[in-house]
């Protein structure tokens, strides 16, 4: 039974989605129960998977679909590969999905109406796609799973109000360009190597010494462009702020922590496992410099644009763009600490963003105001929500013992180790800007007056205001906030263990 853990935790949400679809319209309560059960089973299985991978001590679990064994040295079918890195992120994905389902209990009838069962089916299929991306070892299978996650997210975002449909269309165009570039890159690799398995491609490139051939370099550029478009690296970020702000709130809280981070994981996989550290770091060292500078621009631009925003959710999405800059820069730093720091940042950023987005959604729905003046005097009215938001904000600034401090610490050490001082300066600068943003909010919330002045609401902002405010915040919305704030602290306290696991796994592939 434990041999089949990787595929079982993928099948559970798939079956859940099929059952939810059969419920028909209006049956949101039953669909919610089915969704909770299937995602709960999936989370428990992913905990077992993590324990099993830890017990192997530095190996990875290989699972071959269809049982075609590679006795002749090459893979004929599709295989899954789960190592400690994959197991950690699968755990994060399934847990965030489960907790988000708790949050969505009251929001689905309010925001999506009678199409609730379809919403739950789409979210579960999105989780299936994300888990599949993390565990697969086949380049073309990765493309199909990227498209599964993309299609479900297009539909989930478009279920919102009228601006949501327009932002979803822009996301469709940009996302298709990104995925097609990835497909072209895989195609070029196939033309040169003749196989699709990630390990086999690497072995073939090693044996034939194709590292300087023009087509392999072009394939690398194409795959990178595709993945960067999907993770919203500046300047390919145009679709992200509108898509995540106008989506229904329970969609935004699920997609904001996870989608871009899983794409960062894909980038690290392709860089280190498919192409290898020798090719990426020492080949054309002008690239490493160029991409670190690009990430510096992303961090600075994201922070500035977040500072300029008056709208809560838009501000948070620009902070996500800055965080993506941290991770891309950290991965390209050519130092083990930097890579491990970038990886640890995937986990910590997921927790932080989840916490902040849930808190922001609760505030917007409760006060009916989507701009920053919703926070006036909020501590007296909604103390619990404000505490959750504070923990998330402190983690974004980078104060101990939250996980944000430790991830910044590792990234800065990596930057110093490899001599990229511009990256260190950008990180410190972004912490400063985050401090300005969040302390302004804290000042309003803790020391400001309760909002009494009605400001003019502009036409474009009307779409951000929810249709009906709620009188009091139900427990199903506060529990996820607590759990996510708690996880921010736990990830910070446990950082030594996590970091040692991650760097052990990366040490092996870095050679």
């Amino acid at each position: 039974m434990t041999d089949h853990l990787p595929i079982l935790l993928l099948l559970s949400p798939l079956f859940g989605a099929l059952v939810c679809v059969l419920f028909g319209k209006g049956n949101s309560k039953n669909a919610w129960i089915v969704s909770m059960i299937s995602l709960g089973i999936s989370s428990i299985l992913s905990v077992f998977l993590l324990l099993k991978v830890l017990s192997i001590k530095g190996g990875d679990i290989r699972y071959r679909m269809g049982g075609w064994d590679p006795s002749s040295g090459y893979e004929v079918g599709i295989e899954l590969r789960v190592d400690i890195l994959a197991a950690l992120i699968v755990l994060a994905v399934t847990l965030v999905g489960f907790i988000n389902t708790i949050y969505s209990k009251t929001r689905v009838p309010a925001e999506v109406g009678e199409k609730g069962p379809f919403f739950y089916a789409l979210i579960q299929l999105l989780i299936v796609g994300l888990c599949g991306i993390i565990m697969t070892n086949d380049a073309f299978n990765l493309y199909v799973l990227i498209e599964i996650t993309s299609l479900t997210s297009y539909a989930l975002i478009a279920m919102g109000n009228r601006r949501a449909a327009l932002s979803s269309f822009n996301y469709v165009i940009m996302g298709t360009i990104g995925a097609s570039f990835y497909l072209l890159g895989v195609g070029y690799l196939y033309i040169k190597t003749g196989t699709l398995n990630i390990d086999d491609i690497h072995t073939y490139l090693e044996n034939e010494n194709l590292w300087t051939s023009q087509s392999i370099i072009v394939a690398f550029i194409l795959i990178m462009l595709g993945v960067w478009t999907k993770m919203a690296l500046f300047p390919l970020h145009g679709w992200l702020p509108n898509a995540y702000s106008y989506a229904p709130s329970m969609t935004g809280t699920f997609m904001a922590p996870l989608m871009t981070k899983v794409m960062v994981y894909v980038m690290i996989r392709v860089m280190l496992w498919l192409f290898g550290a020798d090719f990426v770091y020492s080949e054309d060292s002008v690239w490493g410099e160029l991409i670190v500078w690009m990430s510096v621009v992303a961090i600075v631009a994201g922070s500035f644009l977040a500072l300029a925003r008056n709208d809560i959710k838009k501000m948070l999405t620009y902070l996500i763009i800055a965080e993506v800059g941290y991770m891309v820069g950290g991965a390209w730093l050519n130092s083990l600490t930097g890579q491990a720091g970038a990886f640890y940042h995937i986990l910590s950023d997921a927790a932080m963003t989840f916490c902040l987005f849930i808190a922001a959604s609760i505030v917007i729905i409760r006060t009916g105001e989507s701009r920053l003046n919703a926070f006036d005097g909020l501590f007296r009215k909604m103390p619990l929500t404000m505490i959750g938001f504070t923990i998330g904000g402190l983690s974004m600034i980078g104060l101990p013992p939250t996980c944000g401090f430790f991830s910044k610490w590792y990234l800065i050490s990596g930057g110093i180790e490899s001599g990229h001082w511009e990256f260190v300066v950008a990180l410190l600068f972004s912490s400063l800007i985050n401090a300005v943003i969040f302390f302004k909010i804290f000042e309003r919330a803790y020391f400001g007056k309760i909002k009494g002045i009605k400001e003019e609401v502009s036409v474009a902002d009307i779409d951000m205001i929810p249709a009906e405010g709620i009188k009091s915040v139900p427990a199903s919305m506060l529990i996820p906030l607590f759990i996510s704030a708690l996880s921010v602290l736990i990830l910070g306290i446990m950082n030594k263990n996590l970091f040692s696991w991650i760097s052990n796994a990366l040490k092996m592939i870095n050679g």
Partner: protein
């Protein structure tokens, strides 16, 4: 904007074409892709290991069956997504049956359609079933079967097609198709082997291990055909009525 678009398109085009100088020529038999071990395995060993002459179906449904499962999920997501985005539940259920919808096309089209439709469906089922020996398979047959229902809707009006294939029934068929595919893989799991390892079903299905693979491929293709049929018709009916499902084209 147009200049910027043209510039980026030219840059990307040059990037893509610069790689072609070390690509294999058109029709080259010794290229890594055509003479590599993986493709050679597929061509040489498929018939003896699976007894299916059509290599494309064998690779699709057996060697890379995991991929095909997700491909079916993709088309399922498209159908569900269109319903989730567009569907509006007005009060069109209260319109009496003989007043809803249109009359479809003219008399000639209706007569032709009623003569041809059974043959189209029969041919579609043949394509699904004969996918092992000739070009065909689940997707191809499923699209034809779905198109036959669309032809019914175009000729006789959407209300008539909906009476054969209502929304509830399309959802049931779509879920049933994927359920068959995934369920077949779980059956292999239950028999003790990996997911989608058809050789584990040797004890239940007649014939040897190779015939077990061949029969399983057929079962899996039937599941795919069911889903594709239902989703094709559902996509058509939602897109042509803008989610209201009242009047057809």
């Amino acid at each position: 904007m147009k200049f910027f678009g043209l510039l980026s398109v030219i840059i990307v085009g040059f990037l893509l074409l610069s790689a072609t100088k070390d690509f294999p020529n058109w029709g080259d038999e010794d290229s890594p892709a055509n003479s590599g071990p993986v493709s050679s395995f597929y061509i040489e060993k498929t018939e003896e290991k699976t007894k299916v002459p059509n290599m494309v179906t064998a690779v699709l449904a057996d060697y890379r069956g995991y991929d095909t499962m997700f491909e079916t999920v993709v088309i399922f997501i498209a159908g569900i997504g269109i319903i989730a985005v567009l569907r509006t539940y007005g009060n069109n259920e209260s319109i009496p049956k003989n007043q809803v919808g249109d009359e479809g096309a003219g008399l000639l089209a209706r007569m032709t359609c009623s003569l041809i439709l059974p043959f189209i469906q029969l041919f579609a089922l043949y394509v699904v079933a004969h996918g092992h020996h000739s070009p065909g398979g689940g997707f191809q047959g499923g699209v034809m079967l779905g198109a036959s229902y669309i032809l019914l809707a175009l000729a006789y009006g959407l209300a008539r097609a909906k009476s054969c294939f209502s929304e509830k029934r399309t959802l049931v068929f779509a879920a049933l198709g994927i359920f068959i595919y995934v369920g077949w893989g779980v059956l292999c799991l239950v028999m003790g082997s990996e997911f989608l390892n058809y050789s584990a079903l040797d004890s239940i299905l007649p014939g040897g291990v190779e015939m077990a693979r061949s029969h399983s491929m057929l079962a899996v293709e039937i599941g795919v055909a069911l889903t594709v049929t239902a989703i094709m018709f559902s996509m058509f009916s939602n897109l042509s009525t803008k989610g209201r499902l009242d009047k057809g084209l």
